[in-house]
Every structure is written in structure tokens, then in C-alpha cells.
């Protein structure tokens, strides 16, 4: 298979992008397990507690 210089450059670019992506944001690490959950009762209590004081 004959490749043009342009095609070769593009292939190198794509490979580099893949490497950089893997290096900076590994797939395994970015798919975090979501353990946080909205706590509506705690939120209501915070409103009542914090809104009871002025914004000084």
C-alpha cells in the first residue's frame, strides 16, 4: 500500500492524539463510580439553618 506524505502525517497525528488522550485521561479513571446522591432532607435543613442568619 502506497501512502502519501499527507496520509502518513495524518496517521502519526491520530496516533499521537490517542497516546495523549490515554496519558492525560485514562478511560478507566474517567469512568468514575457515582456514589454521591442528592440528599433533600439535608438540603432543607441547610436552608433553614443558614437562612436564619443574615448575609453579613
Amino acid at each position: 500500500m502506497k501512502l502519501t506524505t499527507k496520509q502518513i502525517k495524518e496517521m502519526i497525528k491520530q496516533e499521537l492524539r490517542k497516546i495523549l488522550k490515554e496519558f492525560k485521561a485514562p478511560e478507566a479513571a474517567r469512568k468514575v463510580e457515582i456514589t454521591v446522591q442528592p440528599d433533600f432532607e439535608a438540603a432543607q435543613q441547610e436552608i433553614l439553618k443558614q437562612f436564619a442568619i443574615p448575609q453579613e
Partner: protein
Amino acid sequence: MKFEEFKKTYKPEQIIKLAGKIENYDGSIKDFIDKVTSDRNTGTLLRGIVKALMLFTGGNVASVRDPEKFDPEKSKQFDLSRVGRMLDNYASQSPIKDDYQISNYILKILAQSKAKKPWNATQELYRGLHSLSANAFLALCKPGTVYSLGEIISTSISAAVATNFVNDKPRYQLVYTLDNTKIKKGIYTAGRTSAYAHEEEVVLGGKIKITGFRMIPTYNDISPFEYPGPYHDEIKDFDKLMEYVQLIENFVEDKKVRVGEVTVYAEVLP
């Protein structure tokens, strides 16, 4: 005046009407005071309203919210409002429990009322929250949720007041932008009636409904991200916010690190 006597003498409509005039009176405030106090009955009502707003902004707020918490020692120190200084010595006398009961009664009425107020007090109101747990923070941002504010709370027409309140406080922080355009609720207190005029407060009560939020992440060094570098885009999607908060929880131990600027939009309910 004793609390029970005050309650029997003045109807809520009278309180709302007179309270709405103080900050909105076009002429000089001295003329207004002279005019109102020329009638003994109305004069007593004015003193009650002025003292209520003064104690809420410059007195023992806990006792205004719950007069059973009245403590004569703690009540000795309070700051005067401009009208409070101009009225006869009633306003500047050390408050007694009846004053706090009257203040509580008046403010509960005014917080739910549509008392006359300047145009900007019927637009967006601001209130900050800070030092929130991740889960409370998420719930406070969740669109569609309805929260009770309590009976008497302080908001401001100045976004800067709310922002300064949360600045330099631990995570998570947010500023509520409350849309008051439909209901136009509450009582405005500032230059004439507040002990802290610069806070430009609207005293409010009742419920709010969360309508949306936006977060601008500001922390630049969290790794790994979904894509390299910091989040540049605003987060407006709740699932995305959950993901971001999870990353913060997993990787940022220092609670004082600023992780984002959060505005939560809510509507003031009737």
C-alpha cells in the same frame, strides 16, 4: 405597647400599607415621620414597624425569629436604623420581650406580603449558602425541587452581598437567584429602615422552586478529567454536575479549594 394589645389594635392590612410607605416615601423622611406620628394610633404602629425592621437587621435576630429565645442581656446591644434615630426615644430604648414578639408578628406578615417596594426588589433576589456537603449541595441544585425558606429570612437585591457571604468559605458554595417578578413578595429594608443599609435586604418567607443552575468550574488541577485540562464549559446538566462533584470528592481533599462558581435559579412561590 404589650404584644396582645398590639395584635388586637392593628390589622395586617394596616401594617403592610404603612410598612410599604417608609422606604418608598418620595418626600423627606422627617416630613413622613411628622405626618404619621401626628396621629397617636398610626404613630405607635410606625414605631412598631421601625423597631421590627431594626431588630431584624441590627438586633438579636434569633429572638426576632423566636421571641421565646429572648435574653435581656443579649438584647441590650443593637444598632439603630436611620428612622430609628429620628424617631423619639422609643426606638432607641433597650427592647423588651414584647418588642420581639411584636417584631416577629409584624415580620411574619410582611415577609408574606406584597408590600409596596422599589422595582428592583420585585426582580431578582440573592442569597448565599456555603460549607455544604456534596449530597446537600446536589439536592440544592436539583431542578424541580421545592424548599421551604422558613417564615422570616433575609435576601438581598445585591448579588455582591450574597457572593461576599460565600467567598472564602469551605465547599460547596452556591448563590440562589430568586425570581420575585411574579409574586413580588416581601418587605424591602435599606437606607431608612435597616441598621445595615448596604445589605439592601428583602425580608421574605414561604417556599421556592428550583428552576435551573449553572456551574463554572474554577479548579484547574483536578486529574483525571473527562478530557485533558480543566472544565472550560459551564455545567448545566444535572448528571454532569453529579459526575463533577464525584470527581471533586474523589480527588480534592482540601475543602477550602475553590471548585466552582455556582448560581442556582429558583422561583419565589405564592
